[in-house]
């Protein structure tokens, strides 16, 4: 049976790279599984630490507790473990011995007796990570509660209702749903999906171009009586296939690790059904073509495998930009944004994990815009080797 050049090249590249354990491990497997696993681990750790900090008895180092005995009684009644420190409060925070230190002012009891605001000082590091902030918040809440209790008592003694102090009160209506709270924690997902896809095709993009040139098999290959463009098209198709394979594995890995995410503990819910998974794949699939083509173009200009690895590796930073941006900046989705590849995939997947219905117009624009750009770049990649100087590494 005769096979077309495209098919011949495609299957040769696929078989050859499937045999390479390094490709499979470093790009396909790592690219797809690392992200979801990393996130499960991190999320569980964060939740556990926050839970520990908020449920365990608060350990509060206090300096000069003797100035405020009533406060001490209050704190003890609230189950606080009062500690003493042998360093300065600044040093304690700097050395991370404790998250917060309470210092009672020397004039505390006098001010208290005179009915003036009595001063205490809280030492903490506002730039510290989440779990430390929980401790600071708890300490602050305790002092405020004590202050409020004393204040109310004073007013009542004078025959004034404490509610007079509350001219306005706020009734909270939090409209976040369980799914949207889950989405906040899952905003990394589009990032991992896209990175996985880039990582999956990277190795082949390099191996089939710069690698082939370095191994000196490029020239003999091009001496066969077939158009260079069909050889390149076969190579590119193999590259894109590996990107798609990694994408499928990432989505599956994410689905399979879902039971280990601490959604319930956080009062959140999230589910990924088959339709959503297919939709994710549909939206991201044209990006595999785009990624494979750009990587092939870049790798084609490199003379050696290592050189190509450096350039193509840097490329992975690009999809980070919209992902990172959207993690910190809330953006209202507009249809024109769906015409920008990578940004559009980020937006749509974020919408999906928030449990919102994604409009078919947005999906269509995303698919079409990514596909058009992908095809244009693929065309460039396929034509590249018609230039003579691309053929030789010397």
């Amino acid at each position: 049976m005769k096979a077309s050049a495209f098919k011949t090249v495609y299957w040769k590249e696929v078989v050859e790279n499937l045999r390479d354990k390094r490709t499979m491990l470093s790009s396909v497997i790592m690219g797809s599984i690392m992200g979801p696993l990393l996130m499960v681990g991190l999320m569980n750790m964060t939740v556990k630490m926050q839970k520990d900090k908020s449920e365990k008895p608060l350990e509060l180092p206090v300096v000069a507790m003797e100035h405020a005995q009533a406060l001490e009684t209050f704190l003890l009644a609230q189950g606080v473990e009062i500690k003493t420190i042998d360093k300065s409060p600044e040093q304690v925070i700097k050395d991370k011995d404790h998250d917060v230190v309470l210092v009672i002012d020397a004039g505390f009891s006098d001010a208290m007796a005179e009915g003036k605001p009595a001063k205490v000082m809280l030492y903490y590091d506002d730039s510290a990570k989440g779990a430390a902030k929980v401790t600071v918040r708890r300490a602050r809440a305790l002092i405020n509660a004590y202050s409020k209790g004393i204040g109310n008592m004073r007013l009542q003694l004078r025959g004034v209702s404490p509610s007079l102090l509350k001219a306005v009160y706020i009734e909270d209506h939090d409209l976040s749903t369980k799914a949207s709270r889950g989405a906040m924690l899952l905003s990394f997902l589009p990032y991992f999906l896209i990175i996985g896809l880039f990582a999956g095709s990277m190795y082949l993009a390099i191996d089939t171009t710069a690698g082939e040139k370095e191994r000196k098999s490029m020239e003999p290959l091009f001496l066969n009586p077939v158009a260079r463009s069909s050889i390149l098209a076969g190579k590119l198709a193999a590259t894109v296939s590996f990107g798609l394979l990694t994408l499928v594995l990432t989505v599956l890995a994410f689905k399979l690790t879902l039971p280990w995410y601490p959604f319930e503990k956080l009062g959140m819910s999230f589910d990924l059904n088959v339709t959503s998974m297919l939709l994710m794949f549909l939206v991201l699939a044209p990006l595999a073509l785009l990624a494979g083509s750009i990587q092939t173009i870049i790798a084609a200009f490199a003379k050696t495998f290592r050189e190509a690895q450096t350039y193509v590796g840097l490329l992975i930073m690009v999809p980070m930009i919209p992902s990172m941006m959207l993690m910190f900046l809330p953006v209202k989705e507009k249809l024109w944004m769906m015409a920008i590849p990578i940004l559009n995939q980020n937006l749509i997947i974020n919408q999906m994990i928030r449990g919102e219905v994604v409009g078919w117009d947005a999906i269509a624009v995303t698919f079409a815009s990514t596909m058009v750009l992908g095809l244009a770049l693929a065309w460039v990649a396929v034509q590249l080797y018609n230039r003579e100087k691309m053929l030789f590494s010397d």
Binding site: A3, K12, D20, E212, R215, E219, P220, L223, N224, P225
Partner: protein
């Protein structure tokens, strides 16, 4: 039959090949003899239609290789200077890959591989992955790979470069067999003894220009020397030595 009419090629400022013309007839082994950097590889690359000549024409069995490089390539089997194999594939798979790209059927490919295995003595390693092959084994596989479609014209760029005596003899013997079958063989070399041992017709190239051509005895007569090396030196130094 390869017919080259005044081809030239420059890379930037450097004129690598200037007005080179040559003919390689069927049933003969023609050598393109020149020192390193004389323009052998560039000439060969233009002849086997990898790069386009700036001027001139190359005809392969009457097909213009500039106008129709794909048809011309189908008439040629080329062992270029670059002869990397795919190390994750077996020797057989390497050859099969090129066979399919030549448009051969699987049955034809397997028949031709059997023939090449026997003629080049590749029985021991044909089904092994080519990673770690010796230089001699690699050249044999590369040769079988580029000749899998049994082409009429065989072009080789420094075919025995880096080979030991036994492998060199194997390659020479193979080329003589092909010549006996009426094939047109053109190879480039800088090794005098080799050219002397196998070639019927010698084209001497230096600094991108053809200095002389003829059989070994004709070149010796022209220069008045007694061996090819002296004749070659005489030709490329413009008669100073």
């Amino acid at each position: 039959m390869i017919s080259v009419q005044s081809i030239s090629k420059s890379f930037g400022e450097v004129e690598a090949v200037k007005n080179v013309s040559l003919e390689a007839a069927d049933g003969q082994i023609t050598a393109l003899l020149g020192a390193n950097g004389a323009g052998k590889t560039t000439s060969m690359r233009m002849i086997y239609a990898l790069i386009k000549p700036a001027t001139g024409t190359v005809m392969i069995d009457g097909i213009d290789s500039v106008k129709d490089p794909i048809a011309a390539r189908a008439r040629m089997g080329v062992l270029p200077d670059a002869r990397g194999l795919y190390t994750r594939l077996t020797a057989r798979e390497n050859i099969e890959y090129f066979g399919r790209l030549q448009g051969m059927t699987d049955a034809d490919i397997s028949r031709r591989i059997d023939e090449m295995v026997e003629r080049l003595g590749m029985e021991k390693f044909i089904d092994r992955k080519t990673d770690g092959f010796s230089q001699g084994q690699r050249v044999k596989v590369a040769l079988a790979r580029c000749l899998v479609h049994d082409p009429q014209n065989i072009l080789l760029d420094e075919p025995t470069n880096g080979l030991d005596v036994m492998s060199t003899r194997g390659v020479r013997e193979f080329l003589r067999d092909e010549k006996a079958k009426g094939k047109c063989i053109l190879f480039s070399s800088h090794v005098m003894q080799e050219v002397s041992a196998v070639c019927d017709d010698i084209v001497v190239i230096d600094a991108g220009v053809i200095r002389s051509r003829g059989s070994e005895s004709e070149l010796l007569a022209e220069t008045g020397r007694t061996n090819l090396e002296d004749a070659f030196v005489h030709l490329v130094t413009g008669g100073q030595l």
